[in-house]
Amino acid sequence: MIRIAAIGDVHVGLDDAGSIAPALVDLHDHADVLLIAGDLTRHGDPAEAEVLARELADVQVPVLVVLGNHDHHLDRSADIVRVLTEAGLQVLEGDFVRLELAGSTLGVVGAKGFGGGFEGACGSEFGEPEMKSFIRHTRGIADELRELVVAADADHVVALLHYAPTAETCAGERREIFPFLGSYLLGEAIDAGRVELALHGHAHHGTERGTTTGGTPVRNVARPLVGVAYRRYELGASRHAPANDGLRGLAPVPAAT
């Protein structure tokens, strides 16, 4: 069984030192890995990433992250990646990482994702260059994600995104902004392989649980939504793990606080 701790949208500012570390002191008792679903910083300042790195310095399990839109705001995402990588975090930007954990392997496919919209209300590569580049960015990430998912070789595979791969976990946000919250293309890419769980953030006022069009469980772990330091998930706990092919229903959900 693999135990995952996940959170997103921590938006660490220079004034947030000491705000995260205390809640993570006993993280290793509950989880084998910590995944952070983007928007690590308030406005993409590498100094903010340094604050986050210090907050995570004592975490005793691997920490894998993707960047969010906030982490791109100052156009210094490369510096942020460098700061976090030097601090021992793994930043996934269209990457696959395989971890040996508790006797089995966990594969994490990670990418920021982007917007574009969901079935019935999407942008397309049409018209002005700005519009075409908007959708092209999403398609590029989705294509990359699909390749990684198809090739993912691990006992359990999890997708880590910032943007939402399904409208279901955006429900609660105003429908007008859905095209800025995620894209069905990300969901399609996830459904192309054996992903057991997709995690994302970004939609602070969305819904925690949903599925992709193909039935992959999706969890929105945006911190303002879940309201806790992190959520916990267990993979492979069931003796009758479902085959990872075709449509999957949602496993019974125990009450979470």
Partner: protein, 305 residues
């Protein structure tokens, strides 16, 4: 007085009016007519004097007024409402009794000695009495409007019949503190009841719209920031490095900017407010942004497969 058209209980109410005025006056208490009596005294329509008579008194004078009226033969009744007491000329709730209401907190507004001394003096049923000013009366009527009883009919009638006696500038300042008051100001201006178009100007200077996002197209809203101006503020909160958040909703109530949503800590919360204040100097900002504690952890793990 003989010209009054009051066929029933005319004597009872006339007598009750005279006796209560005399009792309060002789006790040395400041008081003033309110309600339909005052409207009548100020030149409004003839009231139906079978209804109660209303007097305004100060809260500190309530006990003295009760004993003065009791000594003058009135039956005193304290109803559950704590903003007035009742004096009956005969038995309490008797069919032939006239009712006098003595009010010290009409619609939540406190009657002050200052308010009573600025009353106009009027001759009413051959007695010289103080009468709340038309502006003060209108303010109390506007404060009595609620969501459950949003009836502007009598208030507009009042304003129309006393339009020359109302200090519209003072009214605009005092009425703009409630949503119903602001709506009333719009109504009297658009209906042509108010003598000039100064009310919306008053509101505009209240919120200093000229300072708000100067140069922004669409700066034409007379009654508060427009939706596009609020959106500009919301975008500034997103784009300014101090705030850098999309979690703040910018709204407006009563001419003030209201901020709702979440900040990551107290300093961040203050920074968001600073961004708004720097863009809208002098504007009232109601900062209702929450700061939440995210230190709890989930006690159970969800089994995905």
């Amino acid at each position: 007085m003989g010209r009054l058209d009051i066929p029933i209980r005319r004597t009872t109410y006339e007598v009750a009016f005279k006796e209560s005025v005399a009792a309060l006056r002789d006790a040395g208490l400041p008081f003033a007519c309110m309600g339909s009596l005052a409207l009548w005294a100020l030149g409004g329509p003839t009231p139906n004097l079978q209804q109660d008579l209303d007097f305004a008194i100060c809260e500190e004078d309530v006990e003295t007024a009760k004993s003065a009226l009791r000594d003058a033969g009135f039956a005193i009744q304290q109803p559950p409402e704590d903003w007035l007491f009742k004096a009956w000329s005969g038995e309490v709730e008797g069919p032939d009794s006239a009712l006098v209401d003595l009010i010290h907190r009409p619609a939540g507004l406190r009657i002050t000695p200052d308010l009573l001394t600025r009353c106009e003096r009027r001759g009413l049923l051959a007695l010289d009495v103080g009468v709340l000013s038309a502006t003060d009366l209108l303010v109390t009527k506007l404060h009595a409007i609620t969501e459950q009883n949003a009836d502007y009919g009598s208030t507009l009638q009042f304003a129309r019949s006393l339009r020359e006696r109302i200090d519209w500038t003072a009214l605009a300042q005092r009425a703009s503190t409630t949503p119903f008051g602001m709506s009333f100001l719009v109504l009297v201006e658009l209906l042509g009841i108010a003598p000039d178009r100064t009310l919306s100007t008053q509101l505009q200077s209240d919120v200093r719209l000229r300072d708000l996002l100067a140069g922004t197209p669409g700066l034409q809203d007379e009654f508060g920031p427009s939706p596009s101006q609020l959106e500009h503020l919301a975008q500034a909160i997103a784009e300014d490095e101090r705030s850098s958040t999309l979690d703040i909703h910018v709204g407006t109530t009563r001419g003030r900017i209201t901020l709702h949503g979440e900040a990551t800590n107290e300093h961040h919360r203050a920074e968001v407010e600073d961004v708004v204040r720097s863009l809208a100097p002098g504007l009232d900002v109601d900062n209702r942004i929450r700061v939440r504690d995210f230190s709890a952890t989930s006690t159970t793990a969800e089994q995905i497969s």
